[in-house]
Symmetry: C2
Amino acid sequence: MLTKNQIKLIHSLRQKKFRISQKMFIVEGVKVVGEFLNSKYELVEIFSSDEEYSWCGPNFTEVSSKELSKISNFTAANKVLAIFKIPNPLPVDWTGLVLALDSVNDPGNLGTIIRLCDWFGINDLVCNESTVDCYNSKVVQSSMGSHSRVNINYLQLESVLVGLKPCFGTFMEGKSVYDQKLPKKGVIVLGNEANGISDGIEALVNIRLSIPRFGPDKKTESLNVANAAAIILSEFKRNSTEK
Amino acid sequence: MLTKNQIKLIHSLRQKKFRISQKMFIVEGVKVVGEFLNSKYELVEIFSSDEEYSWCGPNFTEVSSKELSKISNFTAANKVLAIFKIPNPLPVDWTGLVLALDSVNDPGNLGTIIRLCDWFGINDLVCNESTVDCYNSKVVQSSMGSHSRVNINYLQLESVLVGLKPCFGTFMEGKSVYDQKLPKKGVIVLGNEANGISDGIEALVNIRLSIPRFGPDKKTESLNVANAAAIILSEFKRNSTEK
């Protein structure tokens, strides 16, 4: 049975301000909850219609499917919902390859980018404060559990990037990423879905990259930011495998 | 003013069976409608609260914002909605580089893949019948107008791919796409979000590719199919730019 306080807590955690004040966030679905249970994240409470989770001990509350659908964000409620503690991120290791996001708005894009960082072994993702919160439910769902393997900091990019070189950014008129020698260390900045990299941060970029466009018309306006991240990270990493 | 028949038609076009029988589909939003108006697609009707579209002549119906929100699929209704004819696709040009999709389900993924085809100059996209309909509203929105520059056919992949070589497919244990010589012609198959490429189609693939995974843990289960498409298409195209 769900208590009123539990329902209230879960609903409040849909909002960023309560996630920040409570230092907790919500994860749903067997697969993604499993990823977080197998990580260093600290479980607060877990709610399921399935006794399978009873190994979680006193943190486990058995609930009916009907109760679950009341607290779920999914239209077709999943069989498990869990609350985890938001950990304090580690300091950024600026001596490695760091991905920095300037005002990425779409939760699906951020989730996919976290998954890409995990895939390509990028340990540090740095977001400016106007990037969507990485503990937003939709971000958590689309990252598919990769959160637990990527260190995410929210920082003032305009300050922290000062003097850091090389600092790469993607632009329509940059140098082809296929022709540029890409190092194993440095910062890669990706910008907002509609407006790209903001002026203040653009001023800190010292190497301007672009992803070449093919085809006769070349009318496609831009690539989705998560696809741009996929191609750019792949290029940086394939370089490191070259003999 | 909207007539009852117009409202009925628009609502019916949210369903695939009516799009097929009527050979029409819906586009919303200034940017994407603009892309289709500037293409070879034939306009059937256009509804807007803005007189700007009156140049469309008898196809234009001025409607109030309230009427528009009734027929819109968006929560925040956009200022224009248009109906276009679904054209007959051209036959596939199998002598070029063709992308084939095996049961891609998510409309956002298909839309993004169409946008990627446009970006990388892939003229032909071939989908099997269980891939989501490319005239689904969400696909149209996320392709951002790239539909008009990519030729999309729905075909029985198991039949049409027989004997076509080279036929590339992506698998977790394929050969690194970074090490494989990639030709300018051939077929690239991408599979379903959860299950990958089905057995029947896998049997027709003669070169198995994979996207290398980095990082110490290598726990990330898979890349999103649109991100995999981005990296694979970029690799095929970067090869063609090499001296």
